[in-house]
């Protein structure tokens, strides 16, 4: 119905006749100054070499890229970043799917409240969200205190200032994205299909696994690509919960620029991150289009 409505409105021209293109120019100027020109400069810097005092020297070369893709140290940073992305994505999928299914199918009168509680974390400052994990994950934090009291562990285990803390906090940050996307996809799958499967004798689990899940696969793929692309480019969470000890692409790049002033090399790293993230976002939106949402 909505599709039909859209088509009819598209076909009829809007009658107000103004030179719309021209009105977009100030906005385009903002994008040019704050986004396009800087990215172009980033790409240009990335093919030069770093001088000793933060200047850009030499002839155009791909040496920075060659170094990133061959030096074991840089490869480890890349590998750790990918590993972080994979772990976070897998956890978000495992937690987000049941939550999305619940929110898509529940008829509880608490649904608006539950939806609100799921979305609100998205809208609260990421720094606050991250420091909230410190009293939970710290050596004298709630989780360690709890486990020591029950006797599961003999002494506090480190869940902060390391990879574990970063994974936990990133899953927390990105779970709403995955859930929202999956919820929209699952809601679009008619419950009639499930009833039909049940009527034909399938168990609830089987009707879910054979009917709903296959139909939501593309949405799941899109959610995974989205979460992965944000996870690998995240800076705030690895900084706060990594305590300076977790080196992933974003923290490494910031270090290259701020501490050692390797502008050219830092730019090349940023371009690598940029290409990875943009590629994944493109995959996500394409998949989403195919799933008809």
């Amino acid at each position: 119905m909505r599709r039909l409505h859209q088509r009819t409105t598209d076909a009829r021209r809007y009658p107000i006749d103004i030179r719309w293109n021209r009105l977009a120019l100030p906005g385009l100027a903002l994008l040019a100054a704050g986004f396009l020109a800087p990215l172009l400069l980033l790409a240009i810097y990335s093919i030069f070499r770093d001088g000793p005092y933060g200047q850009i020297v030499g002839d155009a070369t791909l040496a920075n890229y060659a170094a990133i893709l061959s030096d074991p140290f840089y490869l480890k940073v890349l590998g750790d970043t990918v590993l972080l992305g994979l772990l976070v994505t897998a956890a978000c999928a495992c937690l987000g799917y049941p939550l999305a299914y619940f929110l898509a199918r529940t008829s509880s009168r608490w649904r608006p409240v539950l939806l609100f509680l799921m979305i609100t974390p998205l809208m609260i400052s990421s720094v606050i969200r991250n420091i909230g994990w410190i009293p939970i994950l710290g050596d004298h934090g709630a989780l360690n205190t709890l486990m020591l009291t029950i006797g599961v562990i003999g002494r506090p285990i480190a869940m902060m200032n390391n990879f574990t803390g970063v994974v936990i906090a990133l899953v927390h940050a990105l779970l709403p994205y995955m859930t929202l996307l999956l919820m929209t996809v699952i809601r679009a799958i008619s419950t009639d299909l499930e009833y039909a499967a049940r009527n034909l004798g399938a168990s609830p689990w089987r009707s879910f696994w054979m009917v709903v899940f296959p139909l939501s696969k593309r949405g799941l793929g899109a959610g995974c690509a989205l979460v992965f692309s944000i996870a690998v480019s995240s800076y705030t969470t690895p900084t706060i919960l990594g305590g300076g000890r977790v080196l992933v692409m974003a923290t490494f790049i910031a270090q290259q620029i701020q501490s050692v002033m390797h502008y050219a090399f830092g730019s090349a790293l940023a371009i690598v991150l940029f290409v990875a993230a943009v590629g994944l976002s493109a995959i996500a939106s394409k998949r989403l289009e195919q799933s008809g949402v």
């Binding site: 994008l31 539950l114 799921m118 400052s125 990421s126 990105l174 993230a277």
Partner: protein
Amino acid sequence: MRVLFRLLIACIYIFLIAPFLFVAISSVGDSAMLSFPPHSFTLHWYGQISPKLVDALKVSVLAALATMTISSGLGLWVALAIARGRGAFVSFLKVVSIAPLSVPHLAIGIALYQTVLLLWDYSGVTLAATFPGLVLGHSAIALPFVVRGVLAGHTHLDPALEEAALSLGATPTAALWRVTLPLIRPGLVSGAFLAFLASFDDVPIALFMGGGTDSTTFPLQVLASLEFSLKPDIMAISTLVVVASVTLIIALDYFFGLERFLHGQSAD
């Protein structure tokens, strides 16, 4: 099976809410070391909030308001040009205006930083670590939210309403201001809200474009304080920010409906 599923959902909700809960709990605990559980409760830390944090929060709110104003003011017209403009320019606009969403903000921050350094080299104009520089970066990343919001609102717009206005004698400008814009206001409002959030939430751009006296945002100040220790006064002011954010979201939900904000995106 059903019970287990409910239990899982409950656990996920506890996970989602936990950090905010613990910010609040730590803000009223007596221990300066943030050990858990606190021995007694006190509002002491709320009186001890560092003036630096308060100033930084002011900077953040001002920057977010400026960003919201600029990106809404410009983004509205970009969106209308995408919906109604002509030619190849429109397809270019479509790609460029949404692109900042999928580019890592850290890359944008670094790129912008290097650009303003180059600008300084050649013209002596300083934008790094200034309020205008910060707002420039924030407005660029916030613009896509406005464009997307307005476009979403525009798809439900019936051209007949404009035709009616024009045939009743309104000038095109009057029809635009009194018919078209009020009709797409909900989309504009949701876009503006997300633009505010993009600025308020941002770390990677402020990291490079901020840091001066008028451009040290709240997140930057918290990060700087963390290098020494996490003091309970940070938790106190954070609690206040969380309460204010939730109140604002509830108000927006009441007036405009939450479903509209569902497609919000911020970067980490």
